[in-house]
Structure formats: C-alpha cells, structure tokens
C-alpha cells in the first residue's frame, strides 16, 4: 500500500504544529520550514499523480481497517488533478508570502494557519467518507476565516465575520444532510451509501441532495449565495486571496459539486439544470458587477464569481465536452486568478493601495509586474493561445451541441464583458502614459513566483494537445462521465 496519498495531509499538519511549537519567534526559519514542507508535499502529490494517471486509482485504508469499519481514502484522476494543482499553486504562493508577509506581525502563525488550510484542502480531495469530508471542510474553512482577518483592520474583521456566519450556515446544512443520510442508510461510506440509494424515496433523496447542493454551492459562491465572496477575497492578504480565489473555492465547493452531480446523485439528473441556472446567473451577475468596480482586488473577486459560473455551466451541460470544459476552465482560471491576486499584491506592496484611480501608468515604473499582470488578465479574458480561450470555446460548443443555444450566447456575451473590463483596467492602470515615472520594481522574490505562474498560464493550453490530453484530462473526464463510486470494489488495487 502506497503511503504517498496520505503524505501531503500529514506533512502539512506536522508542519503547522511544528512551526507553532518551535519557530514562534523566528520569522525567517518559519518561512524556510514552510517552503520546504510545501515543496515536499507538492513532490509527493506529483508522484502519486503519476501513479494514478498510469494505474487508474489508489485506495488507502486509514488505520488499516477496511470497509465498513474504517475510513477509506481514494485518489483517482479527477481528484489528482485538483490535488496537484493545489500543491503547486500553494508552493508559488508560499514563496511569495515569505516577502509579502513581512509587513505583518506574527508571521509564524500565518504559516501555521496556511499549512492547516492546505491540509484541509488536501484532506477533502482524498476522502471517500462523507463525515471525513465534512471534518476537513471545517479544518480548511476555519483556517481561512482567520487568514482573512489576519491584518486586523476594521474592514478585514468585518469581511471575516460575514464569511464566518455564511460559512457556518453552509456547514450546518451539510451536517444535517449527513445526519439524514446516516439515519436512513446507517453508513457514511459513499459507495455503501450509493448502493442503498435505490431503496430511498425521491423525497428523501431530494432533501439530502438539496441540503448538500446548497451547502456546497454556498462555498462555491454561485450567485444567490455569493454575498460573502467579494468582501472576503478582496480583504484578505494577497497570498491568501490568491489561494482562496484560485484553489480554495474550487476544492471545497466545485470539486465536491462535481462529485455530487457526476458521481453520487446520478439518479437525479435535474441537479444539472439547477447548476445551469445558478451558473448562468453567476456568470452574468459577476461580470456586470466586476465592470463597475473601482477597487482592483474587488474587481478580481467579482470576476472569480463570474468565472466559477462558467465551470458550473459546463458541469450543468455535462457530456464529454462539458466535463472537459469544466476541468480545463478550472485549471486555467486557477492559474491565472492566483497570478492576478499575487500581482495586485505586489502592486500594493510597492504603492500601498489597490484603488484603480490612484494607480496609473504602472508600465513605466514596474515593467515586469505589468507584463505578468497583463498575461494573467489576457488569460482570464480568453485571448487565444491561453487555456481559458480553449476552455470557454469548449463550453460554448458543448452548450450548442446539447441544445442550450441561449446559454451559449450568454457565455459569449460574458466573455466579451470580461475582455471589456480587463482591457479598461489595463489601459488606465498599466499602459497610461504618466510624466517622469520613477522606477520601483517589486522585489525579486515577489516577481519569481509570478513569472512562473505567468509561464504556466501561457502554456496551459498545451494540456489540450492530443497526445497529452489522452493521458491526463481524458482520464479525469472519464471519471466524471461513466464512473460512480459504486464501481469501487474494496480489495482491488492494493
């Protein structure tokens, strides 16, 4: 049995406790420790990912107890993609935060909380037990509440408060659904639960599915449930915003929604219609709200709502193209949105503000930052060679093929709106001519992670090249297409 699957969680938790115990005073050592631990688990996730993509899936039994006694863990191509993305982006973000967080006090605690958040995210991805998912969901969420308020300014505390309360409502719904599932089927293991679904009445299924769906949709910030996101994501420190917007909402929200829709509640295809509806709403609403924002960070936060809407729409359409679109869009958006948040963080680090009006003509003073920033913006806006263009194209084609022409038109309109507000932003903030500019570039340690991410954004379309696509994305898509947890036979693949 390969221990690689559990290693990231164990490493992150160990790192968090160790930093809190040993390096409480020493900021530099804490940073070095954090970087090396994240690097370790990124390597572990990549190695296990290679294993998964060649051999199918890894099963692991915590405590050595097989079903029905213990908690069963699983890594399959779908979760492996999320797993690798989380750890790679986390590595760049933690590199960045060693410099960025110098402004804040008590940074060792920042690293501790950051590690705990990552542990929670990794824990969700590998679990096959409903209650275990809930526990790690809480681990990740509580760490993120604190990280949002880390700077202790009034607005940050307020954002954290709203986020906490909304998030609590989500987790209550999930807990209630778990109680109902347990009460009827007497099990928490997802495959065992699924083999019982045929005996459940539709009312019961809808009750559970509705509770779970609204809980996780709240964490994904689909539109009727989005109110907390712009506050929380715009007020957090830049590295935290990057991981929250780039990966966090996708792991605790979108990933579980994909599992619910595609793998668990296959008997309720109507959930896809709901997703289409909410997705289209968030796409349009997020795009329109982003257009009117003055604060750049807030604009990015609304843009996240809009882009996650695309993912939800793709998931709602389903089929091979829809699923491929969701995955591709998730990867491309995760890379470019974390790049953008790191970028605005660097600008804030030098200029001390994120208001668009006070930032003019940065191209002359910060050329490298501008270059990376425009790469990210063009990436999200969907300019051809980059991944987002292809993913949006795939989703639109999927919509047309499935007969949702209206949705396809909406997708195109929102893509144009996105391009519009990013071009507007670029014209004033980056490329406006100013008189006698002063050159003050961001520190190299801030530029390096941004450069790497910009490169990844630029080449992310490569995943769709036929030879590579067969080995990576297609396997994950086949998990979403014609695989359910029920197919898992305990005892195979040990």
């Amino acid at each position: 049995m390969s221990h690689l699957i559990i290693l990231p969680v164990a490493i992150y938790l160990g790192a968090a406790f160790l930093i809190a115990l040993l390096y409480k005073k020493d900021e530099k050592l804490a940073g070095v420790a954090a970087i090396s631990f994240v690097l370790l688990s990124a390597i572990a996730s990549i190695i296990s990912g290679i294993d998964v993509f060649t051999n199918g899936k890894i099963l692991y039994f915590a405590g050595g107890w097989e079903r029905p006694l213990g908690i069963v863990l699983m890594l399959d191509p779908l979760s492996s993609i999320f797993h690798i993305m989380t750890n790679i982006i986390a590595f760049f973000v933690i590199l960045y935060s060693t410099v960025y967080m110098k402004k804040y006090t008590w940074t060792p605690y920042f690293y501790t909380l950051f590690m705990i958040m990552l542990a929670g995210m990794n824990g969700i991805l590998i679990s096959m037990d409903i209650f275990n998912i809930y526990v790690f969901f809480e681990v990740a969420s509580i760490a993120s509440f604190i990280l949002v308020a880390f700077g202790l300014r009034a607005e940050e505390l307020e954002a954290s408060m709203k986020y906490t309360v909304m998030s609590f409502i989500a987790s209550t719904m999930i807990l209630f659904a778990i109680a109902l599932i347990y009460g009827f089927t007497g099990t928490l293991n997802i495959p065992a639960f699924m083999s019982e679904t045929s005996g459940l009445s539709p009312v019961h299924l809808w009750f559970i599915a509705g509770l779970l769906f609204s809980g996780f949709a709240l964490k994904t910030a689909l539109v009727p449930f989005h109110t907390w996101l712009p506050d929380a994501h715009s007020m957090a420190p830049a590295p935290v915003s990057a991981i929250l917007s780039g990966m966090f909402i996708k792991v605790v929200g979108l990933y579980v929604l994909i599992r619910i829709t595609a793998n668990i509640f296959i008997v309720l295809p109507q959930i896809r219609i709901l997703l289409l509806l909410f997705g289209a709403l968030s796409m349009v609403f997020g795009g329109l709200m982003a257009y009117g924002q003055k604060n750049i960070k807030r604009l990015y936060a609304y843009s996240t709502i809009s882009q996650v809407g695309y993912c939800a729409v793709g998931l709602g359409i389903g089929g091979y193209l829809g699923s491929l679109g969701v995955l591709m869009h998730f990867i491309a958006h995760a890379l470019s949105k974390s790049l953008l948040f790191l970028n605005i963080g660097a600008i804030e680090y030098i200029n001390g503000t994120t208001e668009a009006e006070q930032l003019q003509g940065l191209n002359d003073s910060m050329p490298a930052t501008t270059l990376f920033g425009s790469t990210g913006m063009l990436g999200i806006a969907g300019v051809p060679p980059m991944g987002n263009f292809w993913s949006k194209l795939i989703i639109i084609i999927a919509a047309v093929k499935a007969g949702y022409t209206g949705i396809a038109v909406l997708c195109i309109i929102v893509a144009v709106i996105t391009l519009g507000y990013f071009l507007k932003l670029q014209r004033t903030v980056y490329y406006k001519k100013v008189e006698n500019p002063v050159k003050k570039e961001a520190p190299k340690m801030l530029l390096f992670p941004m450069g790497c991410l910009a490169l990844l954004v630029f080449i992310s379309g490569i995943l769709l090249v036929p030879g590579i696509k067969d080995k990576t994305l297609d396997k994950a898509v086949s998990v979403m297409e014609n695989f359910s947890y029920m197919d898992i036979k305990i005892g195979e693949n040990r």
Partner: protein, 176 residues
C-alpha cells in the same frame, strides 16, 4: 432511570423553550444564560439516550462556552436593540414552509424513532471488545476506527485557538 417518550418530549420542549427565550430576549446576559440552560438540559438528554461520554463533554463545553460569551459581553452592550423587521418575517415564513414539508414527508426522510438501522455501528460494537480489547466502543471509534477524523477535529480546535491568539494580538501590521 429508563427513558420513555413523554419524558423525552417534555425535556426537549423545555430545551426548545430555552432556545426560543435566548433568541428573543432583549438582554444579552439572560440570552446567554438561557442558552446555557438549554445546553445543560441537552447533556441530561445525552445521558438518558445512552451517551455518557458526550454528556460529560457537553456539560463542561457548555460551561466554557458560557464563560467565553459572558466575558465577551461589554458593559455598553447589555441589550440587543436591533430589530429583525421584514427580513425576519420572511425567514420565518420560509422555515414554516420547510417544517410543513418535513411534517408531511417526515416518515420518508427519517426512520421511526427508536428503531435505527445500525450497520457501521454494529461492526464497531462487535469489533471493539474483540479486536481492540477496548470496552468503551465510543472511545475505540473516536481514536482508532475513525482516528483520522479525530486528527481533523484536533486540528479544528488547534486552529480556533490559534485564531483567538492571532485575533487578540496587539497590532496586525508592523507599521501601524
């Protein structure tokens, strides 16, 4: 004391009453105290329902939570003067609707009380004394069969305490 339905219902109604008072009371102190009362009744319920482990935890957690909340209330804000208004009425209507659906289809959503289907739990009951030599099945479940969950839970409480420490530090940024 053996449990019967009327006793259970009376205790639960008392508890619900405590909850309603603690939500509606104007004075924050009495709100918090009646919440504590409800929590203590809950621990009695746990004891009656065959969960002594949880009952002990509930009593002391309740006291800790009560002290934390009472120390949070400031002299200036003893009363809750905010009004819920239309928004509150709307939520009430939605909840009433939910409750109505639950009452209509309740028997499809939950099994009848007192006749659970024990599947995973039965395995624990059988395995714990034999395989682990641990008479207390709950502890065996928490720390061995589902120890991975408990690790997450220990992390949650660790995180919350780190959060309290972090939030109550003197200043957040070095230049302030």
């Amino acid at each position: 004391m053996t449990l019967n339905l009327p006793l259970l219902v009376v205790l639960m109604l008392l508890m619900t009453g405590g909850c309603v008072i603690s939500i509606t009371a104007r004075s924050l102190t009495s709100s918090v105290v009646s919440m504590g009362t409800a929590g203590l009744i809950l621990s009695i319920l746990f004891l009656l329902l065959g969960a002594p482990d949880i009952a002990i935890v509930q009593v002391f957690v309740e006291i800790v939570a009560l002290i934390v909340l009472l120390s949070t209330i400031r002299r200036e804000t003893r009363a809750d003067m905010s009004s819920s208004g239309l928004y509150g009425v709307l939520t009430l209507i939605i909840f009433a609707l939910f409750l109505f659906v639950f009452m209509l289809h309740g028997s499809e959503i939950v099994r009848p009380f007192g006749q659970p289907v024990i599947k995973m739990g039965a395995e624990y009951i059988k395995a714990s004394p034999v395989l682990l030599k641990a008479p207390n099945t709950v502890t065996a479940t928490v720390l061995d069969f589902r120890g991975y969950d408990t690790l997450g839970e220990a992390t949650v409480i660790f995180t919350a305490i780190a959060g309290v420490i972090v939030l109550l530090r003197i200043k957040g940024r070095k230049d302030e």
